[in-house]
Symmetry: C2
Subunit: 341 residues, 2 copies
DNA sequence: GCTAGGCTTTACAACGTTGCAGAAGCGCGA
DNA sequence: TCGCGCTTCTGCAACGTTGTAAAGCCTAGC
């Protein structure tokens, strides 16, 4: 398969020599330059095939100032939502001929800042960044001199493109769904005290809006704080909620991991779901459909987020001058057993 | 932060000019060449800091023939086991100063073959490859001219390094665990008919060995075939198992996704776990600990697999000549509620 | 038969870095 | 004093590709 046997040995030079044309003509053929005589093109192509020539991408990158690699910075792949997001981004990128370098920030603020200025930015043509800890105060750090697309709503109004879902509306819809099933004492788990712009804050806002719209009084005792949105956190929040003795007939997990943690604890404590307490999550990860009982959730349009983000980034990389955009993707309520009547 | 404002504009040339030394001296400083006077080093370092110089990695790659990127080819990130594996590989790579380019094969044979010869191999110094569909017949395709580490036991004995767990022993231990809890009618879900070298075949082998060791007759009716190891497959297998009417008191899911699918169906069909049927999985993904009931599983030493794979690959990349190695990692039985007595 | 203008092809010079070979500076023993 | 060997620094030539500009070729139109 590899004509020469020795790796990376075949260059345009060799192809040119074999085909009896100049090295630049080989380059032109490879790059689909239009004005080439069919006979020449074929001659070159044959030489390429015979020698098993492959373009040296480092050389091309050096010359063009582009690598064909985009960065994707996210908290951790072991969080299912981000694994699924990465999957979608990689597919979207592949469809457009670029590859993806993933960097994990461990949801650590310092690490998130580093990613923005890391040496690796030299290796990528642009970055899709999903921060979890940065806040409005860090807006300056996001003023970078390379193409950047930010996912989520933590920091907005800056000089970068933005793809996000409407967290407020989606959370309102989730809450409304619970209300529609007759629930009135709806707890929220995973809230972040003091936060104003993060997903947690926005989703709680939507929750409150739904209560208000239905004339249900807001009870602060039903809002349970929790840190990183892992299953363990959801379990912990739920235990605290139940231990507090406050009356509850539904739990809104601010993401699916939290909600799954909640299901876990409810099951362990013999609380019937949805009989005694209904549960809804947020993100619609694959797990949700296979939990016991299956978990209702909000589908955030992951595919859409991924392809929008890649499209925006590639447009910037291509140098298209356009005002910075803020794309809001669609969401959908996915009712399942955990909120059945 | 970036002195010049214009991206990628600062080169060693500029640093050299500013520091009043030759460009090669800058290179030496950056690369920690030992024979440099402290004063010179400091002068250069200051110029670097003042100008915000960053190495152009494409140029370095071109010159050195190395990119500092390793490839990781796996079926899909949306399969939790592979997401967690990718997480570990990225961390291991980061600790060693290289970055990871992930490619998804969708568990498609053609795609798995393509990954081996793709243009992207030009971009990576080596590849960690976790095939799911390739079999012994494809051994030739794995004879590539770049550093390669293969994960899993589908194809062995070739000219590449290998990291895997002992599937047979681990499956035997899983089965033994069920037997220890008094189970005798143990079903296996997710088997692959006709396969001889894959994880499925090896794990079934271990299952049979455990039965034999305990004098339990092997009943082919208890072996349920299933394709891709998704939750949906596990659910489907379990439905078929229950519908068949065959007597069962335990289910061994050949991976956790299958077992979670099984839990889902058992719950839906009001079968008590572990009262009526015990369930054990394989891989110990994070979900396992949060399922309802929590799922017993086999921990395959993911961290160890990842760091061994990265170490082996980097050693090859560094050109160390050593015989091809076959590393077997440790495993551990993780008993949880789904197999409690 | 000649020229304008389009199609093809080419030579050259970068892109930013590092290996190599060697030059300059220095200390030290003969 | 000289030369040797070590440290420190430098110039040059690559690495493999593509943009630029220009040269050759060809055809159509006069």
């Amino acid at each position: 398969m590899n004509g020469s046997g020795v790796r990376g040995t075949v260059t345009m030079h060799d192809v040119a020599a074999r085909a009896g044309v100049s090295i630049k003509t080989v380059s032109n053929v490879v790059n689909d330059y239009p004005h080439i005589r069919p006979a020449t093109r074929e001659k070159v192509q044959r030489a390429i095939d015979e020698l098993g020539y492959r373009m040296n991408l480092s050389a091309r990158s050096l010359r063009q100032g582009r690598t064909g690699i985009i960065g994707l910075a996210l908290p951790e792949l072991s969080l299912p939502y981000f694994a699924e997001l990465a999957d979608s981004v990689i597919r979207a990128a592949e469809a457009r001929g670029v590859v993806v370098l993933i960097e994990q920030t461990s949801a650590d603020r310092q690490h998130e800042l580093e990613v923005l200025t890391s040496d690796r930015r030299q290796l990528t043509d642009g970055l899709i960044f999903s921060p979890l800890e940065l806040g409005p105060d860090d807006a300056d750090a996001l003023k970078v001199d390379y193409p950047l697309v930010v996912l989520g709503e933590r920091i907005f109004g800056g000089e970068w493109d933005h793809v996000t879902m409407n967290n407020v509306d989606a959370a309102r819809a989730a809450t409304q769904h619970l209300i529609d099933q007759g629930r009135r004492r709806i707890a929220v788990i995973g809230a972040h005290a003091g936060e104003t712009m993060g997903s947690a804050a926005l989703r709680v806002l939507g929750y409150q809006a739904a209560l208000a719209a239905n004339g249900i009084p807001f009870d602060p005792e039903l809002v349970i704080e929790g840190g990183l949105w892992h299953r363990a956190t959801g379990a912990d929040c739920t235990n605290r909620l139940l231990d507090s003795g406050v009356k509850v007939d539904a739990v809104f997990g601010l993401n699916d991991a939290l909600a799954l943690g909640a299901l876990h604890v409810l099951h362990a404590r013999d609380v019937d779901v949805p009989g005694d307490i209904a549960v809804i999550g947020f993100d619609d990860i694959e797990d949700a459909a296979y939990a016991s009982p299956t978990l209702s959730s909000i589908s955030p349009g992951r595919e859409q987020i991924a392809s929008m983000a890649v499209d925006l980034l590639l447009a910037r990389i291509a140098g298209e001058e356009q005002p910075f955009r803020r794309v809001i993707t669609d969401f959908e309520v996915m009712p399942r057993e955990s909120t059945a009547v």
